[in-house]
Symmetry: C2
Subunit: 312 residues, 2 copies
């Protein structure tokens, strides 16, 4: 190829987001289209999106997807994109683009790499990235290198079981971390409180129906200073830190970065999380310099990371 742009695409459950980076790593173009439910349509729209942001200048392509991607670029498990399961994404896209080299990786892994290379964890060699959205995704950087695992599945942290008596998870087990500490976990918690009559301001934001409460209603009420909503955020933070503590015990990072849609809640999420983190992490005082930080790159982190991974 003679192109000069490193393109990255983040395939989400509802939209595909693309960026093109120039030789200095600057984003020179970006685009966004809905994610079609059908695999063939999705591949066609993705290729069109890549051409829209980079035209003939595509030098490399990285693709981030939610799920377990193996080292050959096949998406082996993906509850959020079932149409792509067992599709050889890397090969299919590469052939449609005239044999551009394509690297496919987990979306949160991409986001973690982007935060390490040019975001919140710039210059930090041991990083755990946790993305809080509908589920929980993860990316691990150790001594400045991405931890990929034997098959490419490392960082699948959302299904860490933190309470075997907890709510059932679509994965078949009970009490996976993402049932508690994700955006949907916050919604579930909010509905529990709402149905019990403990969160009237949150219910009002949901149009008066306790069953209609979602995570956003809780964060909005908490930002407005509602006491029960703040208590709900503290409970969310407790569950979040339960898992962050496990990850810290295991990996001993210098920094934990929290990203994903839920961090748009800002300080109503970060403040109780930082407090619980300092209280709950084993040997916190011995972990000199350990920092918990919000992600810096926002919703483009996954696409930027995919572009960076695709070009190396």
């Amino acid at each position: 190829m003679t192109g000069s742009l490193a393109v990255g695409v983040d395939i989400g459950g509802t939209k595909m987001l693309a960026v093109a980076l120039d030789g200095r790593g600057e984003v020179v173009a970006s685009g966004k289209v809905p994610t079609p439910p059908d695999a063939q349509r999705l591949l066609a729209d993705l290729v069109q999106l890549v051409q829209d942001v980079a035209g003939a200048e595509v030098a490399s392509l990285g693709v981030g997807v939610p799920g377990m991607v193996d080292r050959t670029g096949v998406l082996r498990r993906s509850p959020h994109l079932p149409a792509l399961e067992d599709v050889a994404l890397g090969k299919e896209i590469s052939s449609r683009l005239g044999d551009v080299a394509v690297r496919v990786a987990n979306d949160a892994t991409c986001a973690g790499w982007a935060e390490h290379i040019r975001g919140a964890a710039l210059g930090v060699d041991d990083v755990v990235m946790v993305t809080l959205g509908t589920g929980i995704g993860g990316g691990i950087v150790e001594r400045g290198r991405l931890v990929e695992g034997a098959h490419g599945y490392a960082g699948e942290i959302g299904h860490m079981v933190v309470d075997p008596h907890g709510p059932r998870c679509p994965c078949g087990r009970r009490g996976c971390w993402e049932r508690f500490a994700s955006g949907s976990g916050l919604g579930r918690l909010g509905r529990e409180w709402a149905i019990a009559g403990r969160a009237p301001a949150v219910v009002a934001l949901a149009g008066g129906d306790p069953e209609a409460v979602r995570g956003e209603h809780v964060t909005v009420a908490a930002t407005a200073g509602d006491g029960p909503a703040r208590d709900l955020m503290a409970e969310l933070a407790w569950w979040l830190v339960l898992g962050l503590g496990n990850l810290t015990d295991l990996l001993d990072p210098a920094m934990v970065v929290i990203g994903g849609g839920l961090i748009r809640a800002g300080e109503v999420l970060m403040e109780p999380t930082r407090r619980a983190f300092a209280e709950m992490v084993e040997g916190y005082d011995a972990r000199t310099g350990l920092v918990l930080r919000a992600a810096a790159l926002g919703e483009t982190a996954g696409a930027i990371g995919a572009a960076l991974l695709g070009s190396t």
Copy 2:
């Protein structure tokens, strides 16, 4: 130094075990002494033990200890060896040995490294080692390198919380993995069943006192074919695999090695554990070649790994 032997010492709660390896990595001498409760005595006895196994031939020394060891060789947290907490072990030992280079590391990390270099995981690059004793220790090898973490504390897996409503742990939290899946976890489980009248053969082995039941009584009864004891082993295996599943999600190893005193139980432990592992691990079928295996090096794994780490 002019010595030719790489010495390793594994400091346990009750005994210190030393090995000396020659240039080809063969164990040419070994020794064992009780662990004194006092730090000064312990340091003196350790130095004597090193001299007993290698004399003037000490070229390097590695020391494995239970707890969180920082990169400067200071044991920062060690519930099993409180006397050594905040002792600069590396420096203290080095000066007593006439400035031999000393590397201090977590004992399970040492054992994991030994299994990787010359044990059950020989030739396997992505390994999680789990040692089951009074507590649970861990060692992580990724792409053939030891994962140490930012401070040197990586692999502290015993305090991964797997049930926040579970029994209280000396670490201050509830439901740490080692409360369930270790030798002492098996003892606790056995006493629960014994007190409920569900494990008469196990109680008989404990001299008729349900409160006196320990893990060994359960494994002995299970080996003899006692039904309730086998059910207890299956429950232990379930808790063990709950944590192994979390580690697999996170690190995507090619092999999980189980070591520590509890594996002397043999197949009554390994058989239900392998079965639960295949059933419970997320995406098991997509993890081609993933193997769960018993450690090969027995009680000297920690000392051998310490010697190997100390000489590199």
